[in-house]
Symmetry: C2
Subunit: 425 residues, 2 copies
């Protein structure tokens, strides 16, 4: 009987266990995890700050019995001996060992802590990484009504909205020149920047914080980095962004897989190393590595960093490269943008969406897309599908989209923007 | 200067005019149309019955001056002489002629009138085809509170919901064994059949009406057929479903194009002749034929009959072949279905969606999909894109979909159903 050990119970580790069990009913599965609860949904944390979701519900007990798996929690793996196929882990004061036939590393990521004056010994400094972080933040907002958020990525912005909803005066500081700079072009991020200003959230762009005011709340939201130390210690090859894996999600060491935030994947467009920090991809990778560890042979081809967030009820989503990254990669790009109602103008309860698509002038292949507004995530998902099947902008324009005035336009925004680009090409 | 004449001002004719103008700023465009108003949005008519949309707003004046086109309305084209490139049309009592260099036929479709006792001389009999039809129906509902709807397609069902909202007792009779039988499998249509029953709408399936009760309202919703008589008279080749066209949307006669409901297209999966009765495709075809008539060279490859409706706020959508048509075409099919919340269970204001996907066992290519519930149309649009780019179910499972708990699941219903099928293959 194969003995599979999974390090880390997040989206990737959980999916790996589910998938391995489906492929091999008799495989012996052990998950070893450092938390004192089972699964947790980290992307829900910012939404728990203002009570939109209940913090306690973000912890999720898994049914180890039904899944026929052994869960060792509150345990920190300290060493992997890949020759003896043995793990060493610390539980309380006790050191234990565990052997494996197949190992899946799913150690996730941790918030980056930049070196700024005032970051140490600061009770009012928070990352949004665990339920404990959020619980303490909520308590602190009862006394302190001023918050500085460092970093205008999704976590920083979601936290800004939640704190604003709790009548905390919020200032966001971002070192780059726009919010969500890795995902959006300036003309798209401006739509959201304007709505933040309307909510009296202060936005300092192009600015670095050099000193933290310890009397105010500080949220560190400067991104996360792969938890790769354990793998490094075990002489498993690392890349720039995390643990190196091949298409089968195998690491450089036989019988050791890695999945989720801790790995380095490749960008589907550039074929270059790329961070893998997307929960849906972590789940997907877990499914594939779990199946492979149990004897299947599935492949993961890479990421488009397909992403969504919701800020003040407005959906924002993107996939592929934004203009900045596309140019940096040497593409000669053409793009178009349009704003449209979701339904015909004569239909009530109408909403708006803005969509931008970026295309490689030479090959006419789609490089990326960004959307803000009604059903932004679904529009972006379709374009993610089109990019991953190597579609040109003409192919995208040709896709037949469903029309009913109660839900869509005869001339969908996707076709509209595709046609704008086609006419300019 | 090229003289382009377009017969019919619907979605297809309008798109043709817009597109021709964009390609050639100097082209001379004339639209000749039988209505006494400009554009009308027929898909909105059922939603005007209970006042959800305003009937008058479905009529849309086009800006002929800005578009630099001549609109001849209230005029019926009676003959096309394709040798002399001359049309004859009747305006009032007067017969006129008009010459063209390029002609686009966009004559649309008309409701099918089956031979049933009581269909003639019946003031309480309606089709939902023009604003006048709906205006008269609305007046009639003030006196008569019982309605029989013949046909459980989209128009029949949308009308049933609207009449039910106006406290009219509704019975729907359908000759086939389920509602929306051309689009949905029975296990999917049953979801909607159950919600109709909850609203006290009576449903007679597998039943043909042989006599109409003239004292009650009767709605004929047994489908539409192509308006192809004019083309036939001009010796333009017809197919089983309408005017035959090639990829450039040219008919069998030089310099004559045809677009929209009046044409026969091909099914993208079977490559066989197929009806083209989708408004978004009509618009697309208009765009292509308009451009081609103005000197461009664009192609239309066919339809998946990608379709959506909204019944009692529930979205329903489908694309490609349902199980019945797929088997009829000789495919050995495998399908899977799942129901899921739109967002994680711990996120508030959650909705549900059911998705079914049908796959060809041999090639693993996607043949069709059906969805009921939240964002059904958008999910189906993505699958339409996947089918039209020849994707296998493995490709679909690999698509990276955006996750944010405020808007989606880590494990999207599309990936979930794709994975179900992959495990069964």
């Amino acid at each position: 009987m194969t003995k599979l050990v999974i390090i880390g119970l997040g989206a990737a580790g959980f999916a790996a266990a589910l998938s391995a069990r489906k492929v091999d009913r008799s495989i012996d599965i052990t998950i070893i995890d450092s938390k004192d609860y089972d699964l947790m949904h980290p992307c829900g944390l910012p939404f728990a700050i203002d009570g939109e979701v209940k913090l306690e519900e973000l912890k999720h007990k898994i049914n180890s019995e039904a899944m026929k798996l052994k869960l060792i929690n509150k345990s920190k793996v300290t060493d992997i001996d890949t020759k003896d196929k043995t793990l060493t882990y610390q539980k309380g004061n006790q050191e234990n060992t565990l052997t494996y036939d197949k190992l899946i590393i799913a150690t996730g990521s941790s918030p980056i802590k930049p070196k700024i004056e005032g970051i140490e010994d600061n009770d009012n400094l928070f990352t949004i990484h665990t339920p404990e972080d959020v619980r303490k933040l909520i308590t602190t907002t009862k006394k302190i009504k001023k918050a500085n958020i460092i970093g205008a990525g999704a976590i920083g912005l979601e936290t800004a909205i939640a704190l604003n909803n709790k009548d905390v005066e919020v200032t966001i500081t971002e070192a780059l020149s726009s919010i969500l700079p890795k995902s959006l072009d300036k003309d798209i991020s401006e739509i959201i920047e304007n709505s933040l200003k309307e909510k009296k959230i202060k936005l300092n762009l192009n600015k670095k914080i050099d000193k933290i005011n310890k009397d105010e709340i500080t949220i560190l939201a400067t991104g996360v980095s792969s938890n790769k130390n354990l793998a490094e210690k075990a002489n498993i090859k690392l890349g720039k962004f995390g643990i190196k894996v091949n298409e089968k999600l195998e690491t450089s060491v036989k019988d050791v897989y890695a999945v989720g935030d801790c790995i380095e994947t490749i960008n589907l467009i550039t074929k270059k190393p790329w961070p893998s920090l997307i929960a849906s991809s972590a789940y997907k990778q877990g499914t594939i590595a779990g199946a492979n560890a149990a004897g299947s042979s599935q492949s993961y081809s890479g990421t488009l960093t397909t992403f969504a967030t919701v800020l003040d009820k407005i959906e924002i989503a993107s996939t592929g490269l934004n203009s900045h990254f596309a140019k940096k990669e040497g593409f000669d790009i053409i793009s178009a943008k349009a704003k449209s109602k979701s339904k015909p103008e004569w239909f009530p309860n109408n909403k708006e969406i803005t969509l931008k698509i970026i295309v490689d002038k030479k090959t006419k292949k789609i490089l990326g897309a960004q959307a803000v507004g009604d059903k932004a995530a679904e529009k972006i998902n379709l374009i993610s599908a089109a990019i991953s099947s190597n579609q040109t902008i003409q192919d995208l324009s040709n896709v037949e989209l469903a029309y009913c005035p109660a839900v869509s336009q005869t001339y969908d925004i996707i076709t509209m923007v595709a046609d704008l680009i086609l006419r300019r090409l």
